[in-house]
Protein backbone atom coordinates (compact mmCIF):
# COMPACT_ATOMS: atom_id res chain seq x y z
CA UNK A 1 0.00 0.00 0.00
CA UNK A 2 2.78 2.35 0.98
CA UNK A 3 4.71 1.51 -2.15
CA UNK A 4 2.03 3.01 -4.41
CA UNK A 5 4.10 6.08 -5.21
CA UNK A 6 4.06 5.62 -8.99
CA UNK A 7 1.00 6.83 -10.88
CA UNK A 8 -1.52 4.01 -10.96
CA UNK A 9 -1.10 2.42 -14.33
CA UNK A 10 -4.30 0.68 -15.29
CA UNK A 11 -2.84 -2.77 -15.92
CA UNK A 12 -0.47 -2.71 -13.03
CA UNK A 13 -3.29 -1.49 -10.82
CA UNK A 14 -5.38 -4.48 -11.85
CA UNK A 15 -2.48 -6.82 -11.13
CA UNK A 16 -2.13 -5.28 -7.69
CA UNK A 17 -5.80 -5.65 -7.05
CA UNK A 18 -6.18 -9.33 -7.87
CA UNK A 19 -3.29 -10.39 -5.67
CA UNK A 20 -5.01 -10.01 -2.29
CA UNK A 21 -8.03 -11.91 -3.55
CA UNK A 22 -5.78 -14.84 -4.40
CA UNK A 23 -4.84 -15.20 -0.75
CA UNK A 24 -8.45 -14.92 0.38
CA UNK A 25 -9.44 -17.40 -2.31
CA UNK A 26 -6.81 -19.91 -1.26
CA UNK A 27 -7.90 -19.70 2.35
CA UNK A 28 -11.51 -20.17 1.36
CA UNK A 29 -10.63 -23.18 -0.80
CA UNK A 30 -8.63 -24.72 2.04
CA UNK A 31 -11.58 -24.19 4.36
CA UNK A 32 -13.93 -25.75 1.81
CA UNK A 33 -11.58 -28.69 1.29
CA UNK A 34 -11.08 -29.21 5.01
CA UNK A 35 -14.82 -29.42 5.47
CA UNK A 36 -15.36 -31.53 2.35
CA UNK A 37 -12.73 -34.17 3.10
CA UNK A 38 -13.25 -34.04 6.87
CA UNK A 39 -9.65 -33.09 7.69
CA UNK A 40 -10.82 -31.44 10.86
CA UNK A 41 -13.60 -32.39 13.24
CA UNK A 42 -16.63 -30.45 11.94
CA UNK A 43 -17.56 -29.63 15.51
CA UNK A 44 -14.46 -27.43 15.63
CA UNK A 45 -14.46 -26.17 12.08
CA UNK A 46 -17.94 -25.81 10.57
CA UNK A 47 -18.15 -25.98 6.79
CA UNK A 48 -18.72 -22.77 4.82
CA UNK A 49 -22.12 -24.17 3.88
CA UNK A 50 -23.05 -24.53 7.55
CA UNK A 51 -22.04 -20.95 8.28
CA UNK A 52 -23.96 -19.72 5.24
CA UNK A 53 -27.01 -21.70 6.31
CA UNK A 54 -26.75 -20.25 9.78
CA UNK A 55 -26.48 -16.76 8.32
CA UNK A 56 -29.63 -17.40 6.29
CA UNK A 57 -31.71 -18.58 9.22
CA UNK A 58 -30.32 -15.85 11.49
CA UNK A 59 -31.19 -13.10 9.07
CA UNK A 60 -34.57 -14.43 8.01
CA UNK A 61 -36.08 -15.84 11.18
CA UNK A 62 -33.51 -14.96 13.84
CA UNK A 63 -32.60 -11.80 15.68
CA UNK A 64 -29.10 -11.19 14.32
CA UNK A 65 -30.04 -8.10 12.32
CA UNK A 66 -31.58 -6.59 15.44
CA UNK A 67 -28.47 -7.53 17.45
CA UNK A 68 -26.20 -5.80 14.98
CA UNK A 69 -28.33 -2.67 14.95
CA UNK A 70 -28.38 -2.57 18.75
CA UNK A 71 -24.59 -2.88 18.89
CA UNK A 72 -24.16 -0.17 16.31
CA UNK A 73 -26.60 2.12 18.11
CA UNK A 74 -24.68 1.85 21.38
CA UNK A 75 -21.41 2.18 19.52
CA UNK A 76 -22.39 5.35 17.72
CA UNK A 77 -24.04 6.95 20.76
CA UNK A 78 -21.04 6.23 23.00
CA UNK A 79 -18.52 7.30 20.40
CA UNK A 80 -20.37 10.56 19.72
CA UNK A 81 -20.40 11.43 23.43
CA UNK A 82 -16.78 10.47 23.99
CA UNK A 83 -15.39 12.04 20.83
CA UNK A 84 -17.22 15.32 21.37
CA UNK A 85 -15.99 15.59 24.95
CA UNK A 86 -12.48 14.66 23.84
CA UNK A 87 -12.50 17.19 21.04
CA UNK A 88 -13.63 20.03 23.31
CA UNK A 89 -11.21 19.23 26.11
CA UNK A 90 -8.39 18.69 23.62
CA UNK A 91 -8.96 22.09 22.04
CA UNK A 92 -9.04 23.78 25.44
CA UNK A 93 -5.81 22.07 26.45
CA UNK A 94 -4.19 22.93 23.16
CA UNK A 95 -5.08 26.61 23.30
CA UNK A 96 -4.71 27.40 26.96
CA UNK A 97 -1.32 26.87 28.51
CA UNK A 98 -2.81 27.21 32.01
CA UNK A 99 -5.45 24.56 31.36
CA UNK A 100 -2.79 22.32 29.93
CA UNK A 101 -0.58 22.68 32.99
CA UNK A 102 -3.45 21.94 35.35
CA UNK A 103 -5.29 19.16 33.55
CA UNK A 104 -2.56 17.69 31.31
CA UNK A 105 -0.60 15.61 33.84
CA UNK A 106 -3.76 14.18 35.40
CA UNK A 107 -5.08 13.27 31.98
CA UNK A 108 -1.85 11.52 31.04
CA UNK A 109 -1.89 9.62 34.32
CA UNK A 110 -5.49 8.50 33.78
CA UNK A 111 -4.55 7.28 30.35
CA UNK A 112 -2.26 4.71 31.93
CA UNK A 113 -5.27 2.81 33.25
CA UNK A 114 -5.79 -0.04 30.83
CA UNK A 115 -9.06 0.56 28.99
CA UNK A 116 -10.90 -2.50 30.26
CA UNK A 117 -9.98 -1.75 33.85
CA UNK A 118 -12.78 0.82 33.66
CA UNK A 119 -15.41 -1.87 33.14
CA UNK A 120 -16.02 -2.91 36.78
CA UNK A 121 -16.12 0.66 38.07
CA UNK A 122 -18.39 1.94 35.31
CA UNK A 123 -20.67 -1.05 35.67
CA UNK A 124 -21.24 -0.14 39.31
CA UNK A 125 -21.70 3.55 38.58
CA UNK A 126 -23.93 3.27 35.54
CA UNK A 127 -25.31 -0.24 35.88
CA UNK A 128 -24.70 -3.15 33.55
CA UNK A 129 -27.44 -2.24 31.09
CA UNK A 130 -27.41 0.29 28.30
CA UNK A 131 -26.07 3.26 30.30
CA UNK A 132 -23.04 1.38 31.60
CA UNK A 133 -22.18 0.09 28.16
CA UNK A 134 -22.49 3.48 26.51
CA UNK A 135 -20.40 5.06 29.30
CA UNK A 136 -17.63 2.56 28.68
CA UNK A 137 -17.75 3.09 24.93
CA UNK A 138 -17.59 6.85 25.50
CA UNK A 139 -14.51 6.47 27.72
CA UNK A 140 -12.88 4.36 25.01
CA UNK A 141 -13.63 6.91 22.29
CA UNK A 142 -12.64 9.86 24.47
CA UNK A 143 -9.02 8.95 25.20
CA UNK A 144 -7.37 8.96 21.76
CA UNK A 145 -9.42 11.96 20.61
CA UNK A 146 -8.45 14.19 23.51
CA UNK A 147 -4.75 13.32 23.36
CA UNK A 148 -4.42 13.77 19.60
CA UNK A 149 -6.43 17.00 19.48
CA UNK A 150 -4.39 18.46 22.30
CA UNK A 151 -1.06 17.42 20.79
CA UNK A 152 -2.15 18.51 17.33
CA UNK A 153 -2.95 22.07 18.39
CA UNK A 154 0.12 22.23 20.58
CA UNK A 155 2.40 20.80 17.91
CA UNK A 156 1.72 23.61 15.44
CA UNK A 157 4.94 25.00 14.07
CA UNK A 158 6.02 28.12 16.00
CA UNK A 159 6.45 29.78 12.60
CA UNK A 160 2.65 29.78 12.21
CA UNK A 161 2.17 31.35 15.61
CA UNK A 162 4.69 34.03 14.77
CA UNK A 163 3.09 34.66 11.43
CA UNK A 164 -0.31 35.18 13.02
CA UNK A 165 1.25 37.48 15.59
CA UNK A 166 2.80 39.50 12.79
CA UNK A 167 -0.56 39.65 11.03
CA UNK A 168 -2.19 40.68 14.35
CA UNK A 169 -4.77 37.90 14.17
CA UNK A 170 -7.35 37.85 16.93
CA UNK A 171 -7.44 34.70 19.03
CA UNK A 172 -10.57 33.58 17.25
CA UNK A 173 -9.02 34.11 13.84
CA UNK A 174 -5.92 32.27 14.94
CA UNK A 175 -8.04 29.33 16.05
CA UNK A 176 -10.23 29.39 12.95
CA UNK A 177 -7.68 30.08 10.23
CA UNK A 178 -4.45 28.65 11.58
CA UNK A 179 -4.78 26.27 14.49
CA UNK A 180 -7.76 24.17 13.45
CA UNK A 181 -6.66 23.50 9.88
CA UNK A 182 -3.14 22.86 11.11
CA UNK A 183 -4.25 20.42 13.75
CA UNK A 184 -6.75 18.65 11.48
CA UNK A 185 -4.58 15.67 10.50
CA UNK A 186 -3.82 14.96 14.13
CA UNK A 187 -7.48 15.36 15.10
CA UNK A 188 -8.44 12.86 12.43
CA UNK A 189 -5.84 10.42 13.67
CA UNK A 190 -7.46 10.71 17.07
CA UNK A 191 -10.99 10.28 15.75
CA UNK A 192 -9.95 7.28 13.69
CA UNK A 193 -8.28 5.61 16.67
CA UNK A 194 -11.26 6.54 18.83
CA UNK A 195 -13.61 4.88 16.38
CA UNK A 196 -11.63 1.65 16.53
CA UNK A 197 -11.40 1.74 20.33
CA UNK A 198 -15.11 2.46 20.61
CA UNK A 199 -15.90 -0.53 18.42
CA UNK A 200 -13.66 -2.69 20.57
CA UNK A 201 -15.38 -1.37 23.67
CA UNK A 202 -18.78 -2.10 22.14
CA UNK A 203 -17.87 -5.73 21.82
CA UNK A 204 -16.19 -5.79 25.23
CA UNK A 205 -19.12 -4.20 27.00
CA UNK A 206 -21.38 -6.92 25.67
CA UNK A 207 -19.04 -9.69 26.73
CA UNK A 208 -18.43 -8.33 30.23
CA UNK A 209 -21.65 -6.59 31.21
CA UNK A 210 -25.27 -7.72 31.31
CA UNK A 211 -26.63 -9.73 28.44
CA UNK A 212 -28.64 -7.46 26.17
CA UNK A 213 -29.34 -7.75 22.46
CA UNK A 214 -26.05 -7.30 20.66
CA UNK A 215 -23.49 -9.05 18.53
CA UNK A 216 -21.11 -9.67 21.46
CA UNK A 217 -23.86 -11.40 23.40
CA UNK A 218 -24.45 -13.71 20.45
CA UNK A 219 -20.75 -14.56 20.33
CA UNK A 220 -20.91 -15.50 23.99
CA UNK A 221 -23.98 -17.60 23.32
CA UNK A 222 -22.19 -19.40 20.50
CA UNK A 223 -19.27 -20.11 22.78
CA UNK A 224 -21.37 -21.40 25.66
CA UNK A 225 -23.62 -23.56 23.52
CA UNK A 226 -20.66 -24.72 21.42
CA UNK A 227 -22.31 -23.46 18.24
CA UNK A 228 -19.31 -22.96 16.02
CA UNK A 229 -21.31 -21.80 13.02
CA UNK A 230 -22.73 -18.91 15.05
CA UNK A 231 -19.27 -18.02 16.37
CA UNK A 232 -17.73 -17.99 12.90
CA UNK A 233 -20.60 -15.94 11.56
CA UNK A 234 -20.23 -13.46 14.41
CA UNK A 235 -16.49 -13.06 13.90
CA UNK A 236 -16.96 -12.54 10.16
CA UNK A 237 -19.60 -9.87 10.81
CA UNK A 238 -17.32 -8.15 13.33
CA UNK A 239 -14.47 -8.16 10.83
CA UNK A 240 -16.68 -6.70 8.10
CA UNK A 241 -17.94 -3.89 10.34
CA UNK A 242 -14.40 -3.17 11.55
CA UNK A 243 -13.09 -3.09 7.98
CA UNK A 244 -15.94 -0.82 6.95
CA UNK A 245 -15.23 1.61 9.80
CA UNK A 246 -11.54 1.60 9.09
CA UNK A 247 -11.74 2.08 5.36
CA UNK A 248 -14.47 4.72 5.49
CA UNK A 249 -12.53 6.68 8.12
CA UNK A 250 -9.45 6.36 5.96
CA UNK A 251 -11.11 7.56 2.78
CA UNK A 252 -12.89 10.39 4.59
CA UNK A 253 -9.53 11.44 5.99
CA UNK A 254 -7.81 11.49 2.63
CA UNK A 255 -10.75 13.31 1.06
CA UNK A 256 -10.91 16.00 3.72
CA UNK A 257 -7.16 16.48 3.74
CA UNK A 258 -6.81 16.31 -0.03
CA UNK A 259 -5.48 19.86 -0.24
CA UNK A 260 -2.45 18.90 1.79
CA UNK A 261 -1.40 16.11 -0.51
CA UNK A 262 0.33 17.51 -3.54
Amino acid sequence: MEADASPPHLLRGAARHWRPFVAFGVIFLLWLAAAQFAWVDPRFLPSPAAVAARAKTEFTTGTLAFDISESLRRNITGFAIGALAGLLLGLVLGFSRTAERIVGPTLLAFRQIALFAWVPLLSVWFGGADAGKIAFIAVAGFQPVVINTWQGVKGLSPAYRELSEVLIFSRLDFARLVALPGALPSIFTGLHAGLIYAWLATLGSELFLNVTPGIGGRLNEGSQLFEMDLLFLGIIILAVIGLFYNSSAHSLETWLLRRRKR
Partner: protein
Protein backbone atom coordinates in the same frame (compact mmCIF):
# COMPACT_ATOMS: atom_id res chain seq x y z
CA UNK B 1 12.21 25.81 4.52
CA UNK B 2 11.19 27.41 7.79
CA UNK B 3 12.99 30.48 8.97
CA UNK B 4 15.88 29.66 11.22
CA UNK B 5 14.84 32.51 13.51
CA UNK B 6 11.73 30.70 14.65
CA UNK B 7 13.65 27.53 15.44
CA UNK B 8 15.44 29.32 18.30
CA UNK B 9 13.29 29.77 21.37
CA UNK B 10 13.03 33.35 22.57
CA UNK B 11 15.72 34.42 24.99
CA UNK B 12 13.52 34.63 28.04
CA UNK B 13 12.17 31.15 27.51
CA UNK B 14 15.69 29.82 27.17
CA UNK B 15 16.67 31.51 30.42
CA UNK B 16 13.79 30.05 32.40
CA UNK B 17 14.18 26.64 30.84
CA UNK B 18 15.23 25.00 34.12
CA UNK B 19 12.75 26.92 36.20
CA UNK B 20 9.22 25.97 35.09
CA UNK B 21 9.66 22.44 36.41
CA UNK B 22 8.55 23.37 39.93
CA UNK B 23 5.67 25.53 38.85
CA UNK B 24 4.64 22.82 36.41
CA UNK B 25 4.58 20.31 39.22
CA UNK B 26 2.55 22.69 41.36
CA UNK B 27 0.05 23.22 38.55
CA UNK B 28 -0.08 19.55 37.67
CA UNK B 29 -0.68 18.42 41.21
CA UNK B 30 -3.36 21.03 41.91
CA UNK B 31 -6.12 19.15 40.09
CA UNK B 32 -5.56 15.75 41.72
CA UNK B 33 -5.36 17.47 45.10
CA UNK B 34 -8.57 19.38 44.48
CA UNK B 35 -10.30 16.18 43.35
CA UNK B 36 -9.02 14.32 46.36
CA UNK B 37 -10.25 17.08 48.65
CA UNK B 38 -13.68 17.10 47.01
CA UNK B 39 -13.80 13.32 47.24
CA UNK B 40 -12.88 13.35 50.93
CA UNK B 41 -15.31 16.13 51.81
CA UNK B 42 -18.23 14.67 49.90
CA UNK B 43 -17.73 11.24 51.43
CA UNK B 44 -17.75 12.86 54.87
CA UNK B 45 -21.24 14.13 54.14
CA UNK B 46 -22.26 10.69 52.95
CA UNK B 47 -22.55 11.54 49.30
CA UNK B 48 -22.18 9.60 47.11
CA UNK B 49 -23.06 6.44 49.06
CA UNK B 50 -20.28 4.10 50.10
CA UNK B 51 -21.24 1.51 47.46
CA UNK B 52 -20.83 4.06 44.68
CA UNK B 53 -17.64 5.74 45.84
CA UNK B 54 -15.87 4.63 49.00
CA UNK B 55 -14.07 7.33 50.99
CA UNK B 56 -10.39 7.92 50.27
CA UNK B 57 -9.39 6.68 53.72
CA UNK B 58 -11.25 3.43 53.06
CA UNK B 59 -9.29 2.97 49.84
CA UNK B 60 -6.06 3.73 51.66
CA UNK B 61 -6.93 1.28 54.46
CA UNK B 62 -7.63 -1.36 51.80
CA UNK B 63 -4.25 -0.76 50.20
CA UNK B 64 -2.52 -1.13 53.58
CA UNK B 65 -4.50 -4.23 54.42
CA UNK B 66 -3.96 -5.96 51.07
CA UNK B 67 -0.31 -5.02 51.17
CA UNK B 68 0.31 -6.33 54.69
CA UNK B 69 -1.35 -9.68 54.11
CA UNK B 70 0.63 -10.05 50.88
CA UNK B 71 -2.38 -10.65 48.63
CA UNK B 72 -1.85 -7.45 46.61
CA UNK B 73 1.71 -8.47 45.78
CA UNK B 74 0.52 -11.97 44.98
CA UNK B 75 -2.17 -10.82 42.52
CA UNK B 76 0.19 -8.31 40.93
CA UNK B 77 3.00 -10.82 40.49
CA UNK B 78 0.58 -13.31 38.98
CA UNK B 79 -0.55 -10.72 36.44
CA UNK B 80 3.01 -9.67 35.67
CA UNK B 81 4.05 -13.28 35.18
CA UNK B 82 1.25 -13.81 32.67
CA UNK B 83 2.21 -10.70 30.73
CA UNK B 84 5.89 -11.65 30.72
CA UNK B 85 5.21 -15.17 29.42
CA UNK B 86 2.65 -14.07 26.85
CA UNK B 87 4.90 -11.26 25.63
CA UNK B 88 7.89 -13.59 25.38
CA UNK B 89 5.82 -16.05 23.33
CA UNK B 90 4.42 -13.36 21.07
CA UNK B 91 7.53 -11.35 20.19
CA UNK B 92 9.72 -13.86 18.28
CA UNK B 93 7.03 -14.96 15.78
CA UNK B 94 5.99 -11.32 15.45
CA UNK B 95 9.51 -10.25 14.54
CA UNK B 96 10.04 -13.17 12.16
CA UNK B 97 6.72 -12.76 10.33
CA UNK B 98 7.18 -9.00 10.22
CA UNK B 99 10.70 -9.32 8.82
CA UNK B 100 9.54 -11.82 6.20
CA UNK B 101 6.69 -9.57 5.11
CA UNK B 102 8.97 -6.54 5.07
CA UNK B 103 11.84 -8.11 3.14
CA UNK B 104 9.71 -9.89 0.54
CA UNK B 105 7.44 -7.37 -1.17
CA UNK B 106 5.93 -10.04 -3.40
CA UNK B 107 4.84 -12.15 -0.46
CA UNK B 108 3.55 -9.00 1.20
CA UNK B 109 1.36 -8.21 -1.78
CA UNK B 110 -0.47 -11.48 -1.30
CA UNK B 111 -0.52 -11.83 2.46
CA UNK B 112 -0.90 -8.25 3.68
CA UNK B 113 -4.64 -7.79 3.06
CA UNK B 114 -5.39 -11.11 4.74
CA UNK B 115 -3.22 -10.13 7.65
CA UNK B 116 -4.87 -6.74 8.07
CA UNK B 117 -8.27 -8.38 7.93
CA UNK B 118 -7.25 -10.79 10.69
CA UNK B 119 -5.58 -8.03 12.72
CA UNK B 120 -8.76 -6.02 12.37
CA UNK B 121 -10.64 -8.47 14.50
CA UNK B 122 -9.40 -7.76 17.96
CA UNK B 123 -8.29 -10.51 20.30
CA UNK B 124 -11.51 -9.86 22.20
CA UNK B 125 -13.61 -11.26 19.36
CA UNK B 126 -11.47 -14.39 19.15
CA UNK B 127 -11.84 -14.92 22.87
CA UNK B 128 -15.16 -16.81 22.80
CA UNK B 129 -13.72 -19.02 20.05
CA UNK B 130 -10.38 -19.45 21.77
CA UNK B 131 -12.06 -20.60 24.97
CA UNK B 132 -13.45 -23.64 23.16
CA UNK B 133 -10.00 -24.64 21.92
CA UNK B 134 -7.74 -24.00 24.89
CA UNK B 135 -10.11 -23.84 27.86
CA UNK B 136 -10.08 -21.09 30.47
CA UNK B 137 -6.82 -21.93 32.23
CA UNK B 138 -3.41 -20.33 31.97
CA UNK B 139 -3.07 -21.33 28.30
CA UNK B 140 -5.92 -19.00 27.41
CA UNK B 141 -4.07 -16.08 29.02
CA UNK B 142 -0.78 -16.88 27.33
CA UNK B 143 -2.31 -17.41 23.90
CA UNK B 144 -4.41 -14.25 23.95
CA UNK B 145 -1.60 -12.07 25.34
CA UNK B 146 0.87 -13.49 22.82
CA UNK B 147 -1.67 -12.94 20.04
CA UNK B 148 -2.25 -9.30 20.88
CA UNK B 149 1.50 -8.75 21.32
CA UNK B 150 2.36 -10.24 17.95
CA UNK B 151 0.00 -8.10 15.87
CA UNK B 152 1.46 -4.64 16.57
CA UNK B 153 4.96 -6.13 16.40
CA UNK B 154 4.26 -7.58 12.94
CA UNK B 155 2.71 -4.33 11.74
CA UNK B 156 5.60 -2.18 12.95
CA UNK B 157 8.33 -4.56 11.79
CA UNK B 158 6.87 -4.88 8.31
CA UNK B 159 6.38 -1.14 7.97
CA UNK B 160 9.79 -0.26 9.34
CA UNK B 161 11.55 -2.59 6.93
CA UNK B 162 9.38 -1.74 3.94
CA UNK B 163 9.87 2.00 4.58
CA UNK B 164 13.67 1.90 4.51
CA UNK B 165 14.66 4.61 2.08
CA UNK B 166 15.01 3.19 -1.45
CA UNK B 167 18.12 5.32 -1.87
CA UNK B 168 19.86 3.38 0.86
CA UNK B 169 18.74 0.08 -0.62
CA UNK B 170 20.05 1.21 -4.01
CA UNK B 171 23.34 2.16 -2.45
CA UNK B 172 23.65 -1.37 -1.16
CA UNK B 173 23.00 -2.70 -4.62
CA UNK B 174 25.61 -0.40 -6.15
CA UNK B 175 28.17 -1.50 -3.58
CA UNK B 176 27.45 -5.14 -4.49
CA UNK B 177 26.41 -6.12 -0.98
CA UNK B 178 25.21 -9.64 -0.42
CA UNK B 179 21.61 -9.86 0.78
CA UNK B 180 22.85 -10.62 4.30
CA UNK B 181 25.11 -7.56 4.29
CA UNK B 182 22.28 -5.46 2.97
CA UNK B 183 20.06 -6.53 5.84
CA UNK B 184 22.65 -6.16 8.57
CA UNK B 185 24.28 -2.89 7.51
CA UNK B 186 21.43 -1.02 5.83
CA UNK B 187 17.99 -2.36 6.63
CA UNK B 188 18.41 -3.17 10.31
CA UNK B 189 19.90 0.15 11.52
CA UNK B 190 17.40 2.12 9.45
CA UNK B 191 14.46 0.09 10.73
CA UNK B 192 15.52 -0.04 14.37
CA UNK B 193 13.63 3.01 15.70
CA UNK B 194 10.22 1.94 14.45
CA UNK B 195 11.01 -1.63 15.40
CA UNK B 196 11.34 -0.50 18.98
CA UNK B 197 8.12 1.44 18.75
CA UNK B 198 6.50 -1.80 17.66
CA UNK B 199 7.84 -3.64 20.69
CA UNK B 200 6.57 -0.90 22.97
CA UNK B 201 3.15 -1.05 21.36
CA UNK B 202 3.24 -4.82 21.71
CA UNK B 203 3.91 -4.55 25.42
CA UNK B 204 1.13 -2.00 25.85
CA UNK B 205 -1.23 -4.32 23.97
CA UNK B 206 -0.10 -7.25 26.12
CA UNK B 207 -0.95 -5.30 29.25
CA UNK B 208 -4.34 -4.27 27.87
CA UNK B 209 -5.25 -7.81 26.94
CA UNK B 210 -4.09 -9.14 30.29
CA UNK B 211 -6.81 -7.04 31.89
CA UNK B 212 -9.32 -8.25 29.31
CA UNK B 213 -8.52 -11.90 29.73
CA UNK B 214 -8.42 -11.70 33.53
CA UNK B 215 -11.81 -10.05 33.57
CA UNK B 216 -13.04 -12.74 31.22
CA UNK B 217 -11.95 -15.74 33.27
CA UNK B 218 -9.48 -16.00 36.12
CA UNK B 219 -9.19 -16.85 39.80
CA UNK B 220 -6.22 -14.69 40.66
CA UNK B 221 -4.57 -11.57 39.32
CA UNK B 222 -5.51 -7.91 39.24
CA UNK B 223 -8.42 -8.44 36.86
CA UNK B 224 -9.85 -11.04 39.19
CA UNK B 225 -9.45 -8.66 42.13
CA UNK B 226 -11.60 -6.15 40.26
CA UNK B 227 -14.27 -8.66 39.31
CA UNK B 228 -14.42 -9.88 42.86
CA UNK B 229 -14.67 -6.34 44.27
CA UNK B 230 -17.46 -5.54 41.86
CA UNK B 231 -19.44 -8.63 42.78
CA UNK B 232 -19.10 -7.91 46.50
CA UNK B 233 -19.89 -4.24 45.87
CA UNK B 234 -16.56 -3.40 47.49
CA UNK B 235 -15.52 -0.65 45.13
CA UNK B 236 -12.38 0.02 47.15
CA UNK B 237 -10.96 -3.24 45.80
CA UNK B 238 -11.79 -2.14 42.25
CA UNK B 239 -10.13 1.23 42.78
CA UNK B 240 -7.00 -0.29 44.31
CA UNK B 241 -6.65 -2.68 41.37
CA UNK B 242 -7.11 0.22 38.94
CA UNK B 243 -4.38 2.18 40.70
CA UNK B 244 -1.98 -0.75 40.49
CA UNK B 245 -2.84 -1.31 36.82
CA UNK B 246 -2.17 2.35 36.04
CA UNK B 247 1.11 2.35 37.96
CA UNK B 248 2.38 -0.75 36.18
CA UNK B 249 1.31 0.57 32.79
CA UNK B 250 3.22 3.77 33.48
CA UNK B 251 6.27 1.83 34.65
CA UNK B 252 6.33 -0.50 31.64
CA UNK B 253 6.02 2.37 29.22
CA UNK B 254 8.68 4.48 30.92
CA UNK B 255 11.19 1.66 31.19
CA UNK B 256 10.86 0.72 27.53
CA UNK B 257 11.25 4.36 26.55
CA UNK B 258 14.41 4.49 28.61
CA UNK B 259 15.67 1.28 27.03
CA UNK B 260 14.93 2.70 23.60
CA UNK B 261 17.11 5.72 24.28
CA UNK B 262 19.80 3.53 25.81
CA UNK B 263 20.01 1.21 22.80
CA UNK B 264 20.09 3.99 20.22
CA UNK B 265 21.77 6.97 21.82
CA UNK B 266 22.13 8.68 18.45
CA UNK B 267 18.40 9.23 18.27
CA UNK B 268 17.80 12.80 19.37
CA UNK B 269 14.64 13.85 21.12
CA UNK B 270 11.90 14.85 18.73
CA UNK B 271 10.82 18.39 19.68
CA UNK B 272 7.22 17.70 18.75
CA UNK B 273 7.15 14.55 20.82
CA UNK B 274 6.15 12.02 18.22
Amino acid sequence: MTLTVSADPPAERRLTKGLPVWTDIAYGISLPLALLLAWGLSSRFGWPPEQILPAPQVVWATIVELWSDGSLAEHTLQSLRRVAIGFAIGVPPGLIIGAALGLLPRVRAFIWPVFTAVAQVNMLAWLPLLVLFVGIDEELKYVSIAWSTAIPVILATTRSIADVSPKLVELGRVLDFTPLQRVSTIVLPAALPSLFTGLREGLAAAWQSLVIVELFASFEGLGYLMTWGRQLFQLELVIVAMLVIAAIGLLLNASLQYLERFVQPWKTEDPHGS
